[in-house]
Symmetry: C2
Subunit: 333 residues, 2 copies
Amino acid sequence: MATIKDIAQAAGVSLATVSRVINDGPKVGSDTRKRVKKIMEEMGYRPNANARALVTKKSASLGVVIAELHDPFFAMLAHGVESVTRKNNVQILLSAGSIEKETELRAIETLLEHRVEAMVVHSKALDDKTLVEFSKQVPGFVLINRYIPEIANRCVWLDNVTGGRLMAEYAINQGHEHVAVISSQYRIDDPNQRLEGVRTAIKHANLVLPESMIEYATPDQEGGELAMQNLLATGAKFTAVLAYNDAMASGAMTMLQDHGIAVPEQVSVMGYDDVLLAKYCRPKLTTLRYPVEMMASKAAELALKYASGKKPEEGLTFKYTPTIIKRDSIVRV
Amino acid sequence: MATIKDIAQAAGVSLATVSRVINDGPKVGSDTRKRVKKIMEEMGYRPNANARALVTKKSASLGVVIAELHDPFFAMLAHGVESVTRKNNVQILLSAGSIEKETELRAIETLLEHRVEAMVVHSKALDDKTLVEFSKQVPGFVLINRYIPEIANRCVWLDNVTGGRLMAEYAINQGHEHVAVISSQYRIDDPNQRLEGVRTAIKHANLVLPESMIEYATPDQEGGELAMQNLLATGAKFTAVLAYNDAMASGAMTMLQDHGIAVPEQVSVMGYDDVLLAKYCRPKLTTLRYPVEMMASKAAELALKYASGKKPEEGLTFKYTPTIIKRDSIVRV
DNA sequence: TTTCAAAGGGTATACGTTTTCAACAATTAT
DNA sequence: ATAATTGTTGAAAACGTATACCCTTTGAAA
């Protein structure tokens, strides 16, 4: 592959001049510029991003750490990031961290080896201290879906407590007095916070949520089915079910229907996240919208901004609140 | 960030020795090795991937070009690639090309600037010649979901003609004599090939497929709804509908149900791809499985292999055939 | 004792860029 | 006419790493 030197030789100018042409530098005559450009075209010259990154200490790329790509939620996240990197001519380096400490760590470190100065990371397995440490090393380090007070201005996150509360309040306002909850079995923040919000709303309405009305399972379709099966097996009475996410909600609906229980006529179901499937499943899912794509774009912009030298403002954070999307899976009782 | 030079200085050895330690090189005593390693640990040394790539002319990364990340199909594709890159300690560079000539081209060129020697690309907008040209420049250039005879040994693709045929045959074997087709309005290969297969099967069964029974729309939920609406508006009689993909199938089902037509009791529906939503929608979709994740993994392995110097074998290609996944959206008539 | 090989380690160059500094030519002001 | 300025160009150093080549030491074989 042709290098700058080849071009310089062919054009009869120095390396410096060619470099200036490439970068639209100021100090080169218009005729020379034209000539060099023509030769670059002819020889199919392509600047070497690695050499460039080495000398400028800027990589023109952004690292993304997510859990698993096949999860629609993360696909949306990645898409949100991609839309802004494309606008800025920035390349994405992608790593999956599958919510495991070791893997997440390796993902970030690999990115660091590539000297990306901007990063959007979704980490649930790493502890606060480690992440704060990284944020000191990488100017454009931004967390998504996580809040760490120490680096609040680098966090783009969803208020899950409020989300949980909204969910429960909506069900209660629809007249439901006996609600069951299907939560995730993974003891990370998200399910705990959502559950906390639900509990708050229920207490505030002078209702109760016995432990027997809460089931924990894997946060997917199968988990939702299993959880609902268990709920039904205990013979508990409920008219509404609040699920941890849309996949679990969908699984719960399937299981209810398999037992001849009509949704939403006999039991209402609510999801969380509003990913694609919420629109596809029947009945269409009433759910909480997690604007992950928008948030991811925000995070990417932030990362790029910080990376370019702008200092994160103190006392600032980027909190989003989910909103109810009304569809067909819940009715007034 | 500490460099090799800093380490050398701190350890009182030369650059070469440190480099040897880093790469597990042969000519360094075990005590020196230990000492250097300890110092690297202490100083938090991280090799600079850019400098490395520059001197070795190997980038230890793989480029991926897809259409849009939020499409579940591509999310699966990316995931398939990721699973093998992770195993090989290779970093993913991701670019989206949104099925537009200009964007796809830019995506590949950016990857080229980063000197990735392995690439998995999904391109529908670029012509054969351009892609063949790229394949000559990049040793590990592999196409997914596309077949170009000239570089057959770099193509991992699905036999869409057979897929279309299987689909139609299955419907016919279930006793359906009047089938309608919902296809994609984009005039790329895939829909044409699937349609060709359908036509073959229908002709072979001595049935007919009038043009009025084929509707074209955008290959998503909305397109499926629209296409079905048009089909119903013409008053055409059919007992089965073959959709271009699962999203369109889902849209078609929605529209049918909205018109009070029971699926599958009155009209059967078949999808294609078997993405997530096929399991989530109601009734569960009978569809053709496109093993995209497996294929993407294969493509990534191939790309890495070719990139590492192994020459593509002549007269070899990587053709996959879809299989029917029987669920609930079609019944015997 | 001499000779030699092997092991351990250092020097210097190359990779492809960007950028600082200095030099030169041409133009304008004095 | 000379001095000052502007515009255009080149030489060289630097970025962080890998590696080919050379040097020294050591111990064993001759």
